[in-house]
Subunit: 297 residues, 2 copies
């Protein structure tokens, strides 16, 4: 399950709770589109903002609505104690895998991160994907640490945050990491604008926020890269450049995706947990135009 | 209560829960030493790692054991929803004030942070101290934003993270912020090695982690600065240089303070929530020597 397009849906919510109906529909939409896996409760799914009970409920809804598509559940939390409980909940919900980021308040040391993954993987009976996201965790993995963690039991994939934009340099970066991790551990690219670059550079998976909202568009890119048509994948990616530019200007996908889901009627407004706010004003109007002109709907 | 030495004790804990006996004793120790206020559940108190129930319990113990010393309670959380509940709990526990940092997973915008503080201050009936700590929140306050938030109801102090080491530049920095905030809002310096510099530069308060462990030593520095003896304050501060150097090498106070509390028998080992670990090995041995040579015990 750690190859191809892994789609990370939003978890629509407001101050009163999760919109379980909208969430179930988002998940079914991904299964219908034929994504290779679903990443429930990733960063796009606002996992860090939910209570343990809300996360267990969300995990159950994701598994129930994913059909035959395997579901990976985010179990990141500040404390090892809480991650162990969330791992239990995810397994009870029927998850096929879990995703773990070294979430921090106090910046973590490499030794602390290693011990954290060691404690969690020791208690798992399903595969784990290492979630490397320095923008939200404030922790920078070294390749050496990735190599050590990748050898722990149950580790099957690494979700990396991005890479150089130059194709040669991107390939060199993936090769460097590949040389340090076992063959049974896949590498997946995240940061959506790196999608085609990452797949073309040898990443087996694309862990994609926008795949959670526009699965057909991103599957087309994924399939082109998977059959070795690097140029087609790059061109399809380049067509979406105005969207990636908007995301870059907003400092990330979440607030833009939330607005897109609201514009498309896939989530009620607001759908993010305060203090987070979907983009509004001229940026939102521009997004509405892009959804139309890029035929994303 | 937003002047002088505000001491931020550890909340000793392990994977099973909070060591309430050790915590109560730490708080009583601060009250006996005569600190000007107690910052319970600050970063030193690992607030972000505790459940709502644990935080309410800790707040109650702090207030019960602080005697006549006013207690400020940290109410930071990722969601506005949760901060509002934590504010209620703190007020029910008898807190004299609350401390709020814009905790983040997704990096926050200035607009989001302002709305967050607006929602929380609107619902408060006790004073609030704005907690500016970019190292843990990944949010950088501008002075302009501090100025806007300082005008919200109930805001009475700003805890700033540090300042230039040069006395002239430090004074200029405090003056710049002072010019943008109302007179009834005090400025307090944090980052312990800036203590004397900040007080000498015109900060009214020292929000101090190490004040939570070595209150008498840090009160001596505070009192010297408060009576205008800048040189005495600086010299007393300089005497502790080997401690500040150790803290800087460790990337912050928490893991060093935890080891010091363990070494002094004020907390059982371990006393931090995993994956955090107190310093160990040669660093810990060096710390033990410093506690003796600097007569900190």
């Amino acid at each position: 399950m750690f190859s191809g397009l892994s789609a990370f849906p939003l978890t629509p919510m407001n101050e009163d709770g999760i919109d379980t109906v909208a969430y179930a529909a988002l998940v079914r939409r991904l299964a219908d589109a034929g994504v290779d896996s679903i990443g429930a409760l990733g960063s796009s799914g606002s996992y860090a903002y939910l209570s343990r009970e809300e996360r267990a409920q969300t995990a159950r809804i994701a598994v129930e609505n994913a059909g035959t598509v395997p579901v990976m559940i985010g179990i990141g939390a500040l404390r090892t104690r809480d991650v162990l409980l969330l791992a239990e909940d995810a397994q009870k919900a029927g998850a096929s895998a879990v995703l773990l980021a070294p979430v921090s308040y106090n910046k973590l040391s490499a030794e602390e991160v290693y011990s954290h993954f060691e404690a969690v993987t020791r208690n798992l009976s399903i595969p784990l994907c290492v979630y490397d996201n320095p923008g939200t965790t404030n922790f920078q993995f070294s390749d050496e640490l990735h190599g050590r963690i990748a050898q722990l039991p149950n580790v099957r994939s690494i979700k990396i945050p991005g890479m150089p934009l130059d194709p040669q340099e991107a390939k060199a970066r993936v090769d460097r990491l590949r040389a340090l991790i076992p063959a049974h551990v896949s590498i997946g690219v995240s940061g959506d604008w790196f999608g085609a670059i990452g797949l073309n550079a040898g990443c087996e998976a694309w862990y994609s926020a926008w795949g959670g909202l526009f699965p057909r568009t991103l599957l087309e890119i994924t399939r082109a890269a998977q059959r070795g048509d690097e140029q087609e994948a790059s061109q399809l990616m380049e067509r979406l450049r105005p969207l990636w530019d908007l995301v870059a200007r907003q400092g990330g996908s979440l607030r833009v995706m939330a607005a897109a889901a609201e514009l498309l009627g896939l989530a009620k407004s607001p759908c993010l947990p305060l203090p987070l706010k979907a983009i509004h004003g001229p940026d939102r109007a521009h997004l509405a135009e892009l959804i139309e002109s890029l035929e994303l709907a």
